[in-house]
Symmetry: C2
Subunit: 324 residues, 2 copies
């Protein structure tokens, strides 16, 4: 048993460095996971520049999701045993060879999935479930739109909404990405560089639920796209959170606008999300109805290149790091 | 049986005039109500200046609520019989001696209530129920705020939320109105002319649900006042619907913002609201736990004076017109 692990640390100049750190211990309701692969998320890039710190009590390392094998069990952890292969949502700490995860934030690695594929599922499926299916209560037969259809969130949201029996619209920034979004199940992929998404959505009869991470001037356009009783949820404001809005459609169409982050939630809240994902969608992965979309796997030493790729937005699907 | 009725009509110069019009007939699921009294609502003032027309199919007259006696029953109307005393929500047409109401939009006149008092209850209680208790799901033990605590909406919202077991905050524009709001049950009434409501609400520990009709710069202040998982609902934008917002609190506090109008809803939707009000609150009126607050009753010939009073905002509670 080693007492240290390799981990990615942000240096004072914001560069990334592999260092040796003490292995964490599973306390309370936590399990210790030996990480085989972890997913890269946009939040990691924000954390790297100091704008999205880990919540109190969590590992200060980056890393919101990991896939691996349970190596130790905290005294109050339920369900898991040593040797179980799990996909874990983490409040931080995934950029390492080991991390602790709350037992209620873990899902079993689906049959037929590699660790790299398992690292590409948890954060996006839990984010989509809580926002789209729980809070916005997307119903079969409704029309759904997700912006950024080839992002990690996008590929999960498209597949989940399609399996739910919805018409799915999405936006993406190139013809290649639009074609990819359609292969994931989008009924209509709008190239936002050549088409006005608001006009296209209106031609398509409007939408009932929108999952957005763009913000800025997308907010008003989203509001204008929504049908009566439509719902808009933001999980980021990449174009900024400040915007001028004409609110009258909220009254006239009885709209709802909301937003959320997953990271800061309590373990009980995350357990609710885990349970929802598992009940509604997790079994569809082994059935090949929902597929992990891994764009590229990097070894941990190439973490800087992985971040540069995400920054470039050229990827389609998830960027994954393998530790071994 | 007369075939005509007295009614208030808006003239081309926006003045109001009593005229003789044909009595409406109860068709389908409607009942014909002989109106003894009707309530004045702010929407009437907007309709008068052409900014809030009746929905298609409804009477073009003003008047969103009336109280009287059922005089005829449409072939598909359930529940009511000739002679029943009812409080009716109307899509229009209340400014008259007779109006048709959907059977599902009527409630029984509570025991102990005069027609004038019955005319002061329906529109506000249904508006408050659908927005605060149904859509925003205000829970006992939560903190609630309504702006304009001495408006018709305000006096209903304060009483209903207090009976629901909530801490109730409100705003009003004078010391006299603040004192009145407290007699209706507000735990804290904020004089917005001398106090900053955002600062006071934060001192009070924040709020979970806000019912607002002000809009404008109140929207951001409302957002700032809300606790985690807080909900804001707008039923008007008296300061205007256009505003610049900083949306980040939506994500960080997982807020919800919504809005609605009641008038344009389908009869089925209004029946759902009627049923909710009846189940949760209507019995409290006969029990003296919720009281109609009638500020002044005018005869129909003085309708211009009634509108002028509402425009002045000097009233506390409802302005009611008697037809007889």
């Amino acid at each position: 048993m080693t007492l240290t692990m390799r981990a990615v640390e942000v240096q004072d100049d914001q560069s990334l460095k592999l260092v040796d750190l003490p292995k964490p211990e599973a306390k309370g309701a936590e399990v210790l996971v030996k990480i085989h692969a972890f997913g890269v998320n946009r939040g990691d890039l924000l954390q790297r520049i100091g704008r999205y710190p880990s919540p109190p009590g969590a590992s200060p390392l980056m890393g919101l999701e990991a896939c691996g094998v349970v190596e130790a069990i905290g005294p109050e952890a339920d369900r898991w045993k040593v040797g179980d292969k799990v996909c874990a949502l983490l409040p931080g700490g995934g950029y390492a060879e080991y991390a602790v995860a709350d037992a209620g934030s873990c899902l079993p690695l689906p049959e037929g999935c590699s660790f790299e594929q398992g690292a590409a599922l948890t954060e996006t499926m839990m984010t989509v479930w809580t926002n789209v299916f729980d809070v916005c209560a997307l119903k079969p037969g409704e029309t759904f739109m997700v912006h950024g259809g080839t992002s990690g969130i996008g590929v999960s949201a498209i597949q989940m909404a399609k399996q739910w029996g919805c018409k799915v619209l999405t936006t993406a920034g190139s013809e290649e990405k639009c074609i990819a979004a359609k292969t994931f199940g989008a009924d209509r992929a709008i190239n936002y560089k050549t088409e006005d998404f608001e006009a296209v959505v209106k031609e398509e009869g409007g939408v009932d639920v929108i999952l957005d991470m763009v913000g800025g001037d997308y907010v008003q356009k989203n509001i204008n796209c929504l049908n009566k009783l439509g719902r808009l949820v933001n999980i980021a404001y990449m174009q900024g959170p400040k915007t001028e809005l004409m609110l009258m459609p909220f009254m006239l169409k009885r709209l709802t606008m909301t937003g959320s982050t997953l990271r800061a939630r309590t373990p009980e809240e995350k357990r609710h999300v885990r349970d929802g994902v598992e009940r509604d969608f997790w079994g569809m992965i082994a059935e090949d109805k929902i597929n992990p979309v891994v764009y590229k796997v990097f070894p941990m030493v190439e973490i800087e290149a992985a971040h540069a790729l995400m920054e470039s937005s050229q990827h389609i699907g998830k960027i994954v790091i393998k530790t071994g």
